[in-house]
Symmetry: C2
Subunit: 76 residues, 2 copies
DNA sequence: CTGCATTTGTACGTATGTATA
DNA sequence: ATATACATACGTACAAATGCA
């Protein structure tokens, strides 16, 4: 295993923090993969991998051609 | 969706067939990723992706530095 | 235990496909 | 058809574990 966390995991953690901070409330559209790629200096695929982790945790919902939106928190 | 199935899915299907055929009985070591990559004309990562699908289905069990072994079929 | 080869497993980028407007 | 954006596939590079001498 890598001694340092992967970039896409780091980015996913950053976005997760913003969601929990309220900086990205439910219903908000996340920056596009191209935007995230540019902001973090990675490729679009890597940016998408970060978002994909959140999608796997049901924190966001992506719609092709539309964008990725923050989902409502599941309390229970 | 791709009109044609992905290579790694095709390879996974081939290996799955061999396991079901008895060509690769439980306990047998699968060809290494390098071997599979050479046989199917793909990269080691793609070969591993095929094996990874079987691993996801609990059909095989990989041990780093050792190899990937066919698991016992779960009947029940 | 150390150095080398082999092998599993992960990470990132490029290319491509698919969906919406 | 063009522009934008999500989503997948494959290869190269790298990391970690194991076995042998």
């Amino acid at each position: 295993m890598p001694s340092a966390p992967a970039e896409y995991r780091r980015i996913a953690d950053e976005i997760t923090a913003k969601i929990k901070n309220g900086e990205l409330p439910p219903g908000t559209k996340l920056p596009s993969t191209s935007e995230l790629a540019d902001q973090y200096g990675v490729s679009t695929a890597t940016a998408y991998r970060a978002v994909s982790l959140l999608h796997d945790r049901d924190m966001v919902m992506g719609q092709p051609g539309r964008g990725v939106y923050v989902a409502e928190p599941e309390n229970g």
